[in-house]
Symmetry: C2
Subunit: 245 residues, 2 copies
Amino acid sequence: MRASPSALESVASLETIFAPVQSLTAFEETVDRLGTAIRLGLLPPGIRLPAERELCAKLGIARSTLRQALVALGQSGHLHATRGRGGGTFVADPQPPATPPSHALLAAWRDTCDERLAVEVGVAMLAAERAQPAALDDLDALVIALDGMLAEFAAYRQADVRLHVGLAEATGSPRLVTAMTETQGAMTGLITMIAHPPEVLDSANRQHRRLLAAIRRRDGATAAREMAEHLRGTEHVLAGLLPAV
Amino acid sequence: MRASPSALESVASLETIFAPVQSLTAFEETVDRLGTAIRLGLLPPGIRLPAERELCAKLGIARSTLRQALVALGQSGHLHATRGRGGGTFVADPQPPATPPSHALLAAWRDTCDERLAVEVGVAMLAAERAQPAALDDLDALVIALDGMLAEFAAYRQADVRLHVGLAEATGSPRLVTAMTETQGAMTGLITMIAHPPEVLDSANRQHRRLLAAIRRRDGATAAREMAEHLRGTEHVLAGLLPAV
DNA sequence: GCGATAAGGACGGACCATCAGACCTTTATC
DNA sequence: GATAAAGGTCTGATGGTCCGTCCTTATCGC
């Protein structure tokens, strides 16, 4: 009946359509989400998470599943729990040492940077359209604070993440906030491999300034260009360190 | 011991971190992936899918799980199977009528467009850096073909999708190809709600031309601007049709 | 001091998605 | 008629998830 000789080979992008479907379990995704937020400093050391019975409701999972994740993050040293009234689950202070990036992440570093470029440039453009002055004031304050952290990379990086995520929040797009958080999480492993002398951080922070200035005067094109340039910095360093493509 | 009064409220972006974790099952994701590819025309009507035993290996799932998805897509009219040697699973021809976009999609249309902007502009910038001339030749041919489809929107839209996905492929970034496919799938429901007179399609296709020209001369900034403008067209129409934010 | 309360911690049963594999049925080709 | 290649069917095992219940610990208020 169907005479077509199945020219499936002629269809491009099949690798994408038929690529393995890796569905994370609720447990895995929870570990990933919380672990990333902690490593990025979005959940800073010492802070208390919501109570388990409350948090599992927010996350939409069963408490036993959430506990699996909390126990896992406890064993890896990211969380610790105290019992009794007034107790709770706290982000560990200090945090465990960062683990070196996985082989898979290193192999796909270019891909990671590409997605990051898209997310960040898109955020820059939209922020230039929509960011409220009040939100920009907060971000300006962050840039000033960053100037005082040029000598200590760990602190700088955390504030840097907050700046970029804050920019995403200023767009008012929840999905871009999620995307930004994820890409920042993916980049962290790579970024920690690079040496960050104060001069480089200073230069990067000047880019922050120009970026925010462009956003404040609603100049989306310049904002996009500044952001792209800002990202190219780290990308070029990575290109020198890591296997080509 | 822990004196900190848990200033968790001070931490922004908590809605993102503690948002519900909805992990799709392998079955659901498979239906989604194949269904989207079919609706976008990436798997055109009449084409034969790989044999079940082969496809489940590619997708990394059990055959029974794959069959659930194939049966579901069969019942919805997207696929039909024939038995025996030389049989197989084929994309239905004609395709079932498109279902109206879900309430949830309509409510979050702005968010969908925002993510689309990021992906497409990022793709435009990277394509301007990396696209091989041969790939651009293919895309130019698509634009020419599009000129002949101005009167028939369904055909136009399918070729349009192939153009945008092809652009993503030209960047060499698998994740951007996936992201592009997903955003195109998400946009399709919205786009079908808009009237598309030939003049509008003609104008859109002229934007395609300018975009490809900018990419060919490696002008990333212009490519990004052209792409953003191209997307704004549909966005403004949607803004007029749909509830504000 | 004692009860109430709010937190983490542990357990058991039920359900369901998924996997792995064997087997059946249909159909075309040699 | 045998073989091969495809979809269709069935079953048991496994594991993730949910729900509810109960226990333990620690603080707060009377």
